[in-house]
Symmetry: C2
Subunit: 345 residues, 2 copies
DNA sequence: GACGGGAGTGGGAGCGCTCCCAACGGTGAT
DNA sequence: ATCACCGTTGGGAGCGCTCCCACTCCCGTC
């Protein structure tokens, strides 16, 4: 009855065979041209390219996949809770990088949100079904079994961040240690003397690094490593608020705080306001993430920026190399962070 | 030399044929079981399911695609500038909805960022290559030729938002008009008398709707439609800041402002602070988007929330129906918004 | 002037699946 | 008992591509 069924329909698209016929060559030759093989004469190549253009030929992905046993696709796996938490610049920054790096390949990006163990299972099966050539993982937790499952089935994969200092899985991370150091040095350089810090949850490696970076900078500056200057948070605003109160209770003389997340800085800023301390006059503030919030705080918050897009690109490059089998050893990359200076410090 | 090449290698996976052999049936029968055809006896079905489980069989996607002429994948197209702009809750909210709706199908979500006309071209070609069954579009501009290209090739597609009141393309939008009305009624209901508005760029339909909603609410409340109470912005913070100054210059007596975006509300709030007006005592403020910023403003901003996840789900459902050919007519759906009340009003 | 060899080419043999037609047995109707 | 029929089932014929082996030229060589 209906003329067209489900999209462009079967008959509509030219096939490689038709291209071959039109160019007056064999299928093999067309295939070689498409795949950029050097073993084709210029004359022939030109003729084939002509025919491809005339016919508007587009290779059929599934057929290639089937015949060549590759998927021409990689998956970006996002644990669901993080998708919400990291919504802000993180997610889209990484994606932008990945997507940019993929732009001139014909590899597709598959987005996979995983919210339950069952879905993780399903994804592992999916991956083992060889429907992707590689996997990119974002915000992997210590207990997540996915990395192991992937390496067990020999699926190329790269994660963003590390689970510990001796992370053996291929990864791309940013230099949280060095960044924290930078932030604290900046504070000290602006004449602050009593610099405190509000840490993230210390079961996360990134949070550990930031604390160590703080300590190292303080040590290098000859400042006593006063335990009273360290308060613990969990990256949330509320925890930042509480930690700030705690800190000020212990050391009313502090004049700067390095917060391990922008969100905690927001909480801290609120606490400071409650206690009548001005920012940056009385207390300077630095956060981490360079989120939209940082820009819109009052005063705008100095913050440590992670090179999100570059991380996305680096992960993708590392993964592609691994897929091509060019990876001599598992990639371990740590990118520098950058301090975005605003008026809060 | 090397034992394993590129993932699990070819020989590793069981095929449908092997399942058939193990279950003692023919290929056709296994295929029927997998695809849930009713024309299989319970006995046989059980045997086949058994074999599938034993072998850990996973259908080979590309083979299905090739044989059945469908892709089992849909694309989510995001114009690049928006990916940055809308980073906040929008992007991940929609994705979460789409992904949730897709969870119990075996349809994959492909993410496509389009940043140049060339890439758009490439995507159109890709789509016409039938590598996806349908397309979801996000923040489509009036001049974007992609919707037309897609309908020309008969590719099922749904967009988020509308380009105009008489949008004929299948879409899912939220009720900006009603939402704005709601927001203004809320303001009036709290005893505010002189409610102003800062609009978005009026070449965007959503911005028009919000302005009309404001006008309708004012009209219904018997408030004069004072042109002096309307200032124009472009959704940016800076424009909100400027508009607020302008507004207060014209009508120093205003006691509430409905801002067509949270970002503009941030700018307006800054202007109010500069002019020594307190929020909400002197001037009540309402924004739109319910972004992270709204929660973290001082005071927290009342804001109109779009049902992002639900929009994602609705778009997906509409698209799947369209793909299955069940769509009697092009889907037009408008979802209600919700006012999240905070202390700014 | 026969010969080895490389460059360029054609096309068979699948890849794993779905579609569909033919075939098979059992059932109720005649 | 005969027959039409329906619920089931098996398996051939591709889907469009890549891989790879064989084949043809056309060199330069001895």
């Amino acid at each position: 009855m209906t003329m067209v069924r489900r999209g462009s329909g079967r008959g509509g698209r030219p096939t490689l065979e038709q291209v071959a016929a039109r160019a007056g060559v064999g299928r093999g030759t067309v295939s070689r041209v498409i795949n950029g093989s050097p073993r084709v004469s210029d004359r022939t190549r030109a003729a084939v390219e002509r025919a491809i253009k005339d016919l508007g030929y587009v290779p059929h992905q599934a057929a290639r996949t089937l015949a060549a046993n590759r998927a021409d696709a990689i998956a970006l796996v996002v644990p669901e809770p993080e998708a919400r938490l990291f919504a802000e610049p993180y997610f889209s920054g990484i994606i932008r990088g990945v997507s940019a790096e993929l732009a001139d390949t014909d590899i597709q990006l598959l987005l996979t949100l995983i919210r339950t163990p069952k879905e993780r299972q399903r994804f592992a099966q999916y991956a083992s079904g060889h429907r992707v050539d590689g996997v990119l993982m974002v915000s992997v937790h210590g207990e997540d079994p996915l990395p192991d499952e992937l390496s067990r089935i020999g699926m190329p994969a790269v994660m963003n961040g590390r689970r510990s200092a001796e992370e053996s899985f291929p990864h791309v991370d940013c230099d949280n240690f060095g960044g924290a150091q930078l932030a604290v040095e900046h504070l000290l350089g602006r004449g602050r003397r009593t610099v405190a810090t509000i840490t993230g949850p210390l079961d996360m490696y990134a949070a550990q690094c930031r604390l160590e970076g703080y300590r190292e900078a303080m040590r290098a500056a000859g400042r006593p490593d006063a335990a009273a200057l360290v308060a613990h948070g969990d990256f949330s605003e509320e925890s930042g608020h509480a930690a700030m109160h705690e800190l000020l209770g212990r050391r009313p003389d502090l004049d700067a705080v390095f917060c391990a997340s922008d969100l905690m800085a927001v909480g801290a800023r609120r606490a400071l306001r409650e206690l009548g301390r001005s920012v940056p006059e009385d207390v300077a503030l630095v956060g981490v993430d360079d989120s939209a919030m940082a820009r819109h705080m009052d005063p705008p918050l100095t913050s440590l920026r992670q090179p999100l897009e570059e991380m996305g690109r680096a992960m993708t490059r590392a993964l592609l190399a691994q897929i091509r089998g060019e990876a001599k050893e598992s990639a371990r990359m740590v990118l520098p962070t950058e301090l975005v200076r605003r008026t809060s410090s």
